[in-house]
Amino acid sequence: MGMTITEKILAKASGKSKVVPGETIWLSVDVLMTHDVCGPPTIDIWKREFGSSAKIWDKDKLVIFPDHYIFTANSHAIANVAKLREFASEYDLPNYYGPGTDRYKGVCHMALAEEGYNVPGTVLFGTDSHTCTSGAFGMFSTGVGNSDAAFILGTGKIWEKVPESMLFWFDGEIPPYLTAKDMILQIIGDITTDGATYRAMEFAGPGVMSLPMSERMTLTNMAIEAGGMNGIIEADELTEAYVKARTSKPYEIFRSDADAVYQSRYTYDLSKMEPMVAKPHSPDNKDTVRNVQGTRLTKCYIGSCTGGKLEDFIFAARILFGQQVQVPTFIVPASTWVDQQLDVETVNGVTLRDIFKKAGCQIGESSCAACLGGPSDTFGRAQDEEVIISTTNRNFPGRMGSKKSAVYLASALTVAASAVKGVITDPRDVM
């Protein structure tokens, strides 16, 4: 009986030749990532439990990206970032990316990829549920809370229950009106928000392997929205080229065996799929864009680790070129690198930034911003009974700010098309 890619990576990290789903194992962690919301309490727990002589198990393997509450006057948020800065200088941490310096990177999951921390075959834990994003690089990655992170910080180890794997196979080539966001909204709608709880979600097939890295990251990013422990995509030449350009760390490519056992298999034909939305207030409340077409909007939002990557802005720019937005439209690049690319990347000879500005969009600084609401002065935050269409990944009540607001999740194509019309619009109608 063969093993899946997830089982193989977990076997390696636990020093075993074979693991089976349901088995509890102890893993050696390759990278621990934390940010400004969960970093400070993690440090407090670590100090409390390991005492005054507490040692970080491996400083090179600890990565800190403050990203959530960065551009705010909230004094508590500022104190949290200050605490991380002091911790980084006290322990002389090599991988601290402080806001306000030229090392600041923006949203952690994007930054992990850009800075070369995503390495095929390795195991990465982070104090953020969307840590599953890194699985797009053929590695095991998942989110944990502060106590687990503090335990890793002191020992480099953590327990995990080997997950069963689910296989999501995509045939065909992606049509120009579809994106990875539509693919994953379809899946989450099909299996619901707990359809993958405690399981690995493996994305495969020619339709997946033809996607650029940032689109693959959109698939794995939202594995947690189906309850998944991790999302994973086998590494290929594209992955290797991306990784080699950013790090010299050794990597190992694992592939699922032909006779690997899956809890379930789903097959999709990309040519038959439709642009999708998740209606308020749950990521599995799926519908086609066509069915909710015409819904009045008060705001459009393109940003976050799910939908604020360079490809997302290229999608949006193709539609916003030469157009005017009809409702306030907020653009938040996921990382400072993506932000810089807005001045480099062009559509029809015009930079993305100019296209967005001329269309009347507001462009914010790289961070999580209104993806999770945040303090009251957060850029793009949902107010009152707003109706928003957003490229982010969660639309639970109050997620983007106001508890009374209603959020539709969609692709950057659909959000841009909707911005141009002021109502929810199928991108095929404006392309």
Binding site: C38, E49, Y69, T131, G145, N146, S147, T197, G227, G398
Partner: protein
């Protein structure tokens, strides 16, 4: 570990996500500062829409006035309790508010782990849906040895799923105590 947990039930619906347990805007407070951490208790479940807060009638605030302690110490939830973010602030907020146990149909993985590894509260799963059988305010008694919950108000008794492989962490108190007991950690 206590052998019996007694308290009033607070009943909620399905998919209570971490933004409902503790809205993101409150995540800025310190979890170790003795005064600031009380805010987590004060805002526990403040993201639950009022009609769904305290079923079956709803409109029951979990926290009254300026308090940080709730009258309710046992939460009865539906499916996928604790879905959403990895914030350990969620089980922490419930602990500060005085919650001792949650009984749900199922849990999101990270919330479940956080409850256990951080030693905040006991996450039990029922064999059947209980949030349509137990009412907010019912007096409950959980028997940890028997894995059962008795509704003292109605006399009904329900079996709960055994805690499984995490029971040794729960019995030790949290992951760190467990690691000390088993010799993984010194001191």
């Amino acid at each position: 570990m206590e052998k019996v947990i007694q308290g009033k039930a607070f009943v909620l619906g399905d998919k209570i996500d971490t933004d409902q347990i503790i809205p993101a805007e409150h995540l800025v407070y310190s979890l170790s500062h003795p005064e600031e951490k009380k805010k987590y208790g004060h805002y526990a479940f403040s993201g639950v829409p009022l009609p769904e807060s305290g079923l079956p009638m709803g409109h029951i605030p979990f926290i009254k006035g300026e308090n940080h302690l709730s009258d309710y110490s046992i939460i009865i939830g539906g499916g996928n309790f604790g879905c959403g973010s990895s914030r350990e602030h969620a089980p922490f907020a419930l602990q500060v508010a005085g919650v001792k146990a949650v009984i749900a149909e199922s849990y999101a993985r990270i919330f479940y782990r956080n409850c256990v590894d951080g030693g905040f509260l006991i996450p039990y799963e029922g064999y059947e849906k209980l949030n349509d059988k137990i009412k907010t305010g019912d007096e409950l008694e959980i028997d940890l040895a028997a894995n059962s919950v008795k509704n003292l108000t109605t006399g009904q008794e329900y079996l709960l799923k055994p805690l499984g492989s995490v029971v040794s962490i729960i019995e030790a108190g949290d992951l760190f105590e467990y690691a000390r007991k088993t010799g993984m950690l010194q001191g």
